[in-house]
């Protein structure tokens, strides 16, 4: 009898320790909610649609993750430079954005494997006097970039003599700055530039064919969430095998199909 009691107590204790060392996935399951940090930088990755719904390529992939986990999803909206701090401070479980897994960022956060490739491109006002990437290299040219974005680093490298202006916010700010003449050239992720320039009259901008860089995009989580990272990598494998990832990218990134729905 006493032995049986001891045995049960031991089992209970073992159960407790197991619960104490539960991983992020267990926590998410218990919470019934996946908390995802996003930025509303505009199409194609993350935007608020015409009906006020939060949507976009990254947002839909995150929703798919939550669906596969069987939990509801909560989006936390931050500025670009607030995404990583929000993740590190535990406000969010993971972050989905058009984020390049740079080595500098990977010193702080754990990235999944890349799920697509993009790159920084240069764009100018269509009827302006800057016709090529070469034109933007002139001394004193005003180049609009986003604070903390890869484009900021690429522009600094590609246009050493130019005057680099960093804006804080989403890509549409850059299009505005170039369209208004507050900057001569803009540098941002090519998918973002293509997606966001659709808000302007056709032919407002010239997007240069030559890319400044080729960059992977990945999602990020914390290094102390290895279980979640493993799961996310598996998720990306699965959706690229069953075609759901391609469908998402074709709809959002490689075409304007999303425009008629949002």
């Amino acid at each position: 009898m006493t032995i049986a009691k001891l045995f049960i107590a031991g089992l209970a204790l073992a159960g407790l320790t197991a619960a104490a060392s539960a991983g992020t996935l267990d926590e998410i399951t218990k919470r019934g909610e996946l908390r995802v940090a996003v930025q509303t930088q505009g199409p194609p990755f993350s935007l608020v649609g015409a009906a006020g719904e939060r949507t976009g390529s990254s947002v839909e992939l995150a929703e798919l993750m939550a669906k596969e986990m069987g939990v509801k999803i909560t989006f936390l909206d931050f500025d670009w430079d607030g995404l990583i701090p929000a993740l590190l401070s535990g406000k969010a479980d993971l972050l989905v954005a058009d984020m390049t897994p740079t080595l500098a960022r990977a010193m702080k956060v754990a990235f999944t494997k890349p799920y697509m490739y993009t790159g920084s491109t240069v764009f100018t006002k269509a009827d302006g006097k800057f016709k090529s990437t070469e034109d933007c290299k002139a001394k004193g040219t005003k180049i609009a970039v986003l604070l903390g974005a890869t484009g900021e680093k690429e522009a600094t490298k590609a246009f050493p003599d130019a005057d680099i202006k960093s804006y804080k916010g989403g890509g549409p700010l850059l299009l505005d700055a170039v369209n208004n003449g507050q900057a001569d050239c803009g540098v941002n992720d090519v998918s973002a530039v293509k997606g966001q320039s659709t808000a302007y009259p056709a032919g407002s901008f010239t997007i240069m064919p030559d890319m400044l860089s080729k960059e992977p995009l990945a999602f990020a989580t914390r290094y102390d969430e290895q279980d979640l990272l493993t799961w996310m990598n598996l998720f990306l494998d699965q959706v690229s095998l069953d075609g759901r990832l391609q469908k998402n990218l074709d709809y959002w990134v490689n075409s304007d199909d999303w425009k008629k729905d949002h």
């Binding site: 500098a104 609009a144 202006k165 804080k168 369209n179 208004n180 003449g181």
Partner: protein, 223 residues
């Protein structure tokens, strides 16, 4: 808690903070000079008997005080170009701060002038002074003394408000902190450093307030 705090990185970014500080100081000085000019004109309009002058001044002051400075800044920077007026961000920034602070300065100056006892004006009239003479010799010198402390308070507000210019790509003090936060993902280091610099500016202005009080022989300032 502090073992992750990187003083080394702050030192590395000090030149950037220095440049930001210099920019913040000189643009604040220019913006405050503008605010004083706008404030004096508005206060003068507001003290007229005729509604013709009073109404527009009141309308302007209300409009500025009822809307957030950020909205005013965005209107000037992103809105005006749509109307064909394109200004460099530094100009927009200084203009926005001047136009905004000007409304508050106007109210401070008006209150200062109204605080001068009516008897002073009557004494001026009795000694046969013209309106201009009364203003120049009796009212304004006294009103000036009364308004110095609240004006310096407004100057402190303006310095803090100038942080908003970081949002339109002006490389001032707050932007330096944002850069450190976003380059190295060290928000604590970036924002604690700018807080320290703003504190320095604040004490500088407070010191100036104390000094000016002594120069002007304000009651209680001299020991």
């Amino acid at each position: 808690m502090l073992e992750n705090f990187s003083f080394r990185t702050i030192v590395e970014y000090l030149p950037l903070f220095g440049q930001g500080l210099v920019t913040t100081v000189w643009l604040s000085v220019l913006a405050f000079a503008g605010a004083l000019a706008i404030g004096i004109v508005l206060a003068a309009m507001n003290l007229q008997r005729g509604r013709l002058f009073r109404m527009p001044a009141k309308a302007y002051i209300d409009a500025v005080r009822a809307t957030p400075l950020l909205a005013q800044l965005y209107f000037l920077y992103f809105g005006l170009p749509r109307l064909g007026i394109i200004l460099p961000e530094l100009v927009v920034g200084i203009l926005a701060l001047s136009l905004n602070s000007g409304a508050y300065v106007a109210e401070i100056i008006r209150a200062g002038i109204l605080s001068i006892p009516r008897g002073q004006v009557e004494a001026g009239v009795a000694s046969g002074m013209t309106y201009i003479q009364r203003m120049r010799l009796v009212i304004l010198p006294q009103a000036f003394k009364v308004t110095i402390p609240p004006l310096l308070g407004q100057a402190i507000v303006l310095v803090k408000d100038s942080a908003l210019l970081s949002l339109i790509a002006v490389a001032e003090l707050t932007r330096a902190g944002q850069l450190l936060a976003s380059d190295r993902f060290m928000p604590a280091e970036g924002f604690i450093t700018i807080a320290a610099f703003y504190l320095l500016l604040y004490y500088g202005l407070k010191g100036l307030a104390a000094l000016s009080g002594r120069w002007l022989g304000l009651a209680g300032a001299r020991t």
